[in-house]
């Protein structure tokens, strides 16, 4: 029999029992949709967490802080030697100093992080109002906690003038000197717990010397593959080196388990649907026993009969797969929309909770066809082996 004629008969069989075909397709679709929905949720949450943890630049960044056993301090010498390592794109240091802030007579203390312009990018900092400073010696970025202490509304904070006193400590003599500086707010970072400010290191450049000890440095690596190599080198010098990539890989690992568990739930739903489909195909076999006998008596070969059944079950399951992927995707979108509406109404941010990778969608459709072939296999074998006379006597 020609393949297109076998296909035609299979489609005809599906059409001739519309209600049952529709129900079976729906069963498979619900199973597949559950998998797509749950796995998409897993992917979405994973991407959301990773995004929250780090910007893309931050992934290529190492944090170097003094180790417990370090003899060497983080000073200009060390920075120069790290800069000279291959694959190191840039080094950005952080000098943490005490800051007394005076705004229109209101006073408060804050932690001043004196950093270079590229620090914000390497740390993955985000401002809720305004932006980060660049090429400036007078702009600062402050936390909402600091603004609260000074009774300033964050939305109107930009361009506010702060009179500050920077407390410099001589690392050799531990002697404190106070330096008065005037700064203007350029950006605000959301943090209600700690009063801090990011201040351009260049504003105190005249007070920084080779003897200055930094609190930490960020090392940006040009090639992600070389992160481990550079990390090992700096660690061997006695420093503590951490990278966001480590955290991300831990998060990824956790989410891999989460996804697996979610997929397992979906798989159980699909198993139930598959058993339903197997049942449908077996009943279809009984119902069509007589027709199979007639077809065989009229010269249809065993494998033609077998193919009709296989095509039928794979057509049902692939339709179920397609509808399922669509249903799972749209349900995710709908729930995401609902959650975001709710989040926005209570003052939160809109987030993408469901991510359906294209390959996952394609893979699941292919998988559903496979399910069809598997559930159709036994009935098709039985059909092809029916004795035509027995089948003809079947009522």
């Amino acid at each position: 029999m020609r393949l297109n004629q076998i296909l035609r008969i299979a489609i005809n069989n599906i059409k001739s029992n519309k209600m049952r075909s529709l129900l079976t397709i729906s069963g498979i679709a619900v199973g597949i949709a559950t998998i797509v929905f749950l796995v998409s949720l897993g992917y979405g949450l994973q991407q959301l967490s990773v995004k929250k943890i780090a910007s893309i630049a931050a992934i290529n960044t190492l944090d170097v802080s003094p180790g417990k056993t370090a003899v060497q301090k983080i000073d200009n010498n060390l920075i120069a030697s790290i800069k000279s390592m291959p694959d190191v794109a840039s080094v950005s240091s952080l000098l943490s100093l005490g800051l007394k802030v005076d705004f229109e007579g209101k006073k408060t203390d804050a932690v001043g992080s004196f950093v270079n312009d590229d620090y914000a990018k390497l740390e993955g900092l985000d401002t809720v109002v305004g932006g980060f400073f660049s090429n400036s010696t007078t702009d600062i970025v402050v936390s909402t906690a600091l603004l609260k202490a000074l009774n300033i509304d964050p939305t109107g904070a930009v361009k506010k003038e702060f009179n500050t006193t920077v407390i410099m400590v001589n690392s050799a003599t531990k002697e404190k000197t106070e330096v008065a500086k005037k700064y203007f707010v350029i950006g605000v970072i959301q943090d209600d717990s700690v009063s801090f400010a990011y201040v351009p290191q260049s504003s105190v450049a005249d007070k920084v010397s080779d003897a200055t000890v930094y609190n930490s440095v960020k090392v940006n690596i040009s090639d992600q593959k070389q992160i481990q190599g550079v990390k090992d080198k700096i660690t061997s010098m006695g420093f503590t080196v951490t990278s966001i990539a480590d955290t991300i890989s831990q998060v990824d690992q956790i989410f891999r388990v989460v996804q697996l568990v979610l997929a397992l739930f979906g798989f159980i739903a699909l198993m139930v649907a598959s058993i339903g489909m197997f049942n449908t195909m077996t009943i279809a076999l009984l119902e069509r026993t007589r027709d199979i006998g007639i077809m065989k008596a009229l010269g249809a070969r065993d494998r033609d009969i077998s193919k009709i059944f296989l095509f039928e079950s794979s057509a049902i399951s692939s339709m179920g797969g397609l509808f399922g992927v669509l249903l799972g995707y749209l349900t995710g979108k709908a729930i995401n929309f609902g959650v975001n509406q709710l989040a926005i109404s209570v003052g939160g941010d809109a987030q993408t909770l469901f991510v359906t990778p294209f390959l996952l969608a394609v893979g699941i459709v292919v998988f559903s066809v496979l399910v069809g072939v598997m559930t159709g296999f036994y009935p098709s074998r039985r059909a092809s082996r029916l004795n035509p006379l027995d089948a003809l006597r079947y009522e």
Partner: protein, 252 residues
């Protein structure tokens, strides 16, 4: 008769196992059927005539003995070879019509050609021609439940002729028909035998049909008890509007 031997049965035995019992349905039967014969296996129900017919179509294999069609032993065929044999050499008409449920009349008639690997177009062309020969053109797109018994049996006959077979095998083809439809169907078979020289093997228990056959095997308890040669067959009668000449049957 000068024609060649088409089917030859030699000491055929067929038994079925039902639980612990073995029932011998055919108890050693031998016969020859020549090309162009109209053979009727006649006897009471349970005498083994249908089993014998199923042996001829290769739907059943003998327990003992040799069964040859044109010199080929069909019981030794593989499942595929049997399918091919049924596709090309024989047409079967059943008592219960046995039209395929999910197909239209036209698709039913074209099915043997589709089974043999022909295109749908070729199958439908052939079906259209056969349906017009059997006066069923206007029912081409109906499904079988929309037809009367007589019409359904004519569809089944058209289907049996789809591949232009040498042999027509008919198991009680009038068993489910009223007498008028039955007479019509019997006349059509008679035409097919006389005008287009098809070999017909038929099982019946209706003595009125015996007159059409050229050779009658009277059966009883799994044996052929008498072979009757009929030399006084009736004249051909005109049936319906059907043109059953071999030329019109082979078109399409």
């Amino acid at each position: 008769m000068g024609s060649s031997v088409l089917i030859e049965a030699k000491d055929i035995k067929k038994s079925f196992t039902l639980g612990p019992n073995t029932i011998e349905v055919i108890k050693g039967v031998s016969f020859e059927i020549h090309s162009g014969d109209y053979v009727i296996f006649f006897g009471q129900s349970g005498c083994g005539k249908s089993t014998l017919l199923n042996l001829c179509s290769g739907l059943e294999s003998p327990t003992e003995g040799k069964f040859t069609v044109r010199g080929e032993e069909i019981s030794k065929f593989s499942s595929d070879q049997k399918a091919k044999f049924r596709q090309s050499k024989i047409g079967i008409v059943f008592q219960q019509f046995n039209l395929l449920k999910s197909m239209t009349v036209e698709e039913n008639v074209s099915f043997p050609l589709i089974a043999a690997g022909e295109t749908r177009e070729r199958g439908i062309n052939r079906a259209t021609n056969l349906l017009s020969v059997f006066g069923l053109t206007k029912h081409a797109h109906n499904i079988h439940t929309e037809l009367s018994g007589g019409q359904q049996q004519r569809v089944a006959m058209a289907r049996a002729l789809a591949v232009n077979p040498w042999i027509l095998i008919c198991d009680e083809p009038t068993g489910n028909l009223d007498s008028k439809s039955a007479d019509e169907v019997m006349e059509i078979f008679y035409h097919l035998n006389r005008k287009s020289k098809r070999t017909i093997l038929m099982v019946t228990h209706n003595p009125d049909h015996i007159k059409f056959a050229s050779k009658i095997f009277h059966m009883k308890d799994g044996m052929i008890v008498k072979t009757q040669i009929n030399r006084s067959r009736p004249a051909l009668k005109h049936v319906g509007d059907f043109d059953l000449s071999s030329r019109s049957l082979e078109q399409g």
